[in-house]
Symmetry: C2
Subunit: 463 residues, 2 copies
């Protein structure tokens, strides 16, 4: 035994040297990834096509069909091993003619409030709705007032703002968005005839932010988001007197419709059954052109494949790229993808989602099943010295609405995390357009994801 130990001791320097060599090789390859992405990357051009030529891509719309065909053709042109469309039925909501919303105050007269109908919400019909407004700060408060019969026949106004002291704006969003998602159905449950929600943004401006709302147990009422400036005006008016709001929306829920996830993959040479997924969602809201949300995530994911191909990298594991459909108002693309994958008993060793915009990268959040998270995340943390020179960090945190559905497969789930400060200036508005994406910021995101994919592919997660 002593002899063996002595022998191992003699070998130690060689192990250390070879480990150092490997780290140096990795550092060089990651530098190659960045260089290639920053000088020959195509993500920005693709994003310009997706936003300028195709535009807003709500599930079920003709533009969504164009986006499916465009990204399918892109994948084919990259010479991936296989490219296919995965059918999924998606909700088909249409906004219809432009909405309108007015505040009617005895003191101030009538004032227009900039508004957008919430996605999935029912329309008011041509006569609109008009009622006294009840302002609340939370779902709980609405429920409380509802139980007291105080919102029956009224319009409920959810007005809790973003918490500006949250450094990460995603946390501020998380702390306010329940008002939009379940506020209207709670209002309807207690007889409200409509709901008005303060827009989900850090900014004080006159741009309304749409976004999804879900009705529960058949409790439905028409619902709009109003701009933060409009919300402030309404709040101010309500300090002095009772105020009515009138709004009219022309949206409709049509029958679910056939759509597709777009999928391409490169088969792994050594461990083809271990899948590494890169993804974004192809659908966007109809207002704006989904530049940050989530055109950026789509072109990030395509660029990962593109750059690795250009570097002649042959992955050991299977690299798969998915453009999810219907993240915005249903998640049916991700549900289908999960169901099919589970049925085939696939194993996503790692699934990465980019759905927080095309801003300068700050790192990744990682998540996973409790059974495996600590063990696998420990391995990833060891790669930090290779990522930190690019300003990248790794922390525990949610992955994303689409890939989180793969948790049951017990791989690691990652959310790409760019700088969050400007995201809610544009999110779900007409302002989410090509001009607010910076080419280098976008490219750095693609390079960051590619670097992580390279390390995941090379070292695996100890399976």
């Amino acid at each position: 035994m002593k002899h063996v130990l002595f022998f191992l001791f003699l070998l130690l320097p060689f192990f250390l040297i070879s480990q150092q060599d490997e780290q140096e090789k990795d550092a060089f390859f990651i530098k190659d990834i960045y260089n290639k992405t920053l000088t020959e990357g195509q993500s920005y051009d693709w994003l310009m096509y997706l936003t300028k030529q195709i535009g807003g891509r709500l599930s079920g719309s003709p533009a969504a069909a164009a986006a499916i065909e465009y990204t399918r053709q892109l994948m084919v042109s990259m010479d991936m091993d296989s490219v296919w469309l995965q059918p999924c039925m998606v909700p088909h909501w249409v906004r219809g003619e432009k909405e309108e919303c007015r505040m009617i105050s005895t003191r101030l007269g009538t004032m227009d409030l900039a508004c957008l109908a919430l996605g999935n919400s029912i329309g008011t019909g041509p006569s609109g709705v008009s009622a006294e407004v009840v302002e609340v700060q939370s779902i709980d408060e609405a429920e409380e007032l509802g139980k007291q019969g105080k919102i029956k026949g009224k319009i409920v106004f959810y007005n809790r703002p973003f918490d500006q002291t949250q450094i990460n704006t995603m946390a501020a969003y998380g702390g306010a968005v329940d008002q939009r998602v379940v506020g209207p159905t709670m209002a309807a449950k207690y007889g409200a005839i409509g709901a008005v929600v303060r827009s989900m943004t850090n900014k004080t401006d006159d741009i309304p932010h749409t976004g999804v709302t879900y009705y529960r147990d058949g409790h439905e009422c028409p619902a709009v988001a109003i701009s933060t400036m409009a919300a402030d005006q309404l709040e101010e008016a309500l300090k002095h007197e009772k105020v009515r709001v009138y709004f009219r929306t022309n949206c409709k829920n049509l029958d679910p419709i056939l759509s597709y996830n777009v999928i391409g993959e490169i088969k792994g040479t050594e461990k083809p059954d271990e899948i590494i997924l890169v993804s974004g969602h192809l659908d966007s809201w109809d207002v704006g052109t989904g530049a940050h949300d989530d055109g950026s995530g789509c072109v990030h994911s395509l660029e990962v494949i593109n750059v690795l191909k250009k570097l002649n990298y042959k992955p050991k594991r299977t690299l798969r790229c998915v453009m999810y459909m219907n993240e915005e108002n249903g998640g049916e693309g991700a549900n289908t993808y999960r169901d099919v994958s589970n049925e085939k008993k696939e194993y996503h060793m790692a699934a990465i989602e980019s759905d927080r915009g095309g801003f300068t990268p700050r790192g990744f959040t990682a998540d996973g099943h409790d059974d495996i998270f600590n063990d696998k995340f420990k391995r990833v943390i060891e790669w930090l010295p290779l990522l930190e020179p690019y300003g990248l960090n790794l922390r525990k945190g949610g992955s994303g609405a689409d890939v989180s559905k793969l948790k049951g497969q017990k791989g690691l789930l990652f959310g790409f995390e760019p700088d969050s400060q400007r995201y809610f200036d544009y999110h779900h508005t007409p302002a989410d357009a090509p001009d607010v994406v910076n080419k280098r910021e976008l490219e750095l995101g693609a390079a960051a994801i590619t670097a992580l994919v390279y390390l995941l592919d090379k070292y695996g997660l100890g399976d």
Copy 2:
């Protein structure tokens, strides 16, 4: 001796606990700084005034005078212990009537090239200059061709682009800007009649970027920057044939003129002789309104004082806030400040400059005299755990054009370091305007600097 050791050993836990308590107190205070800045900060409003009401503030211009008076009044309104104007003589360059630049090619015909005269450059006079173009990639190449008599009577075109593979765009700027600063004088030295410089930016667009040039030993020729798109066109044309360029500039160097640094301070309660400086430069280029460069640095610095005042913080050391004049085309404000300070035998324990824009903070670069740097920087690095939660890092690196002149006082010099990706989209162009500054990004910068000032003031640097 043993007894003393035993006694100390008994005390150890108390020391550790009290150290932990202090760190917790610091963490809470830094959180207070962020909360206050993000909810009651005024930096954005001040920046809007500086950019929208006052506008471009080139040294010697009426707008520079307005900016001096505006920031002086702000300091007075903050109830600082003293506020004063420090006189300094500054260069007085004026652009005059709009420039023009055209490429004359037999093959392509005549094409306009978007241009701006370089700051401090001489004008062409009303007839302009017209000559065959010689393209070079570097100062050395120009000198080489000059020695061979190949640039005499010609217009030298400096066309080395930014290195896009630099992650930090400041490094790409540093690697290209010699062409603008000393390119024209080198061309003039060998008889060129003009110089055209590719704009200093990562972007390919049609916006020319001005900036300073310096003539040496009386070697002067008129000089313009052309947009990167114009530079690409000229480069392409030169691949096929000899090409002429005509340009006309109407700029002039007038006599130096009296201007001022604006200074305010709060006297330290315990160590008033140890000065902590926060600073930006008040002058900007005449095109655009100096929003990022360096309105942001000015309002950052003012906000540090404002927020500490609002938190009722009484500094132990003297906090001084300087709005430097003439950083852009001479540095005479900083020269005067240094001379007066050295004469008074002042000691700047720490001097912080913010002159890299109002983007999301990434940390600080630190610099200092070799005699003291390692020792003092070591102390600062210990504060990292308090700064990292806000995405802030500390690294060795240049401080800034103005505060670096205080190196002889052997304090630490800091440059605030925000995200660099968008800086050269706007730098020295009409696009450096209020709409490209994000309120929260700006405020986070002010909070980051305030946090560092708080730690510097509380713990000092071991003097």
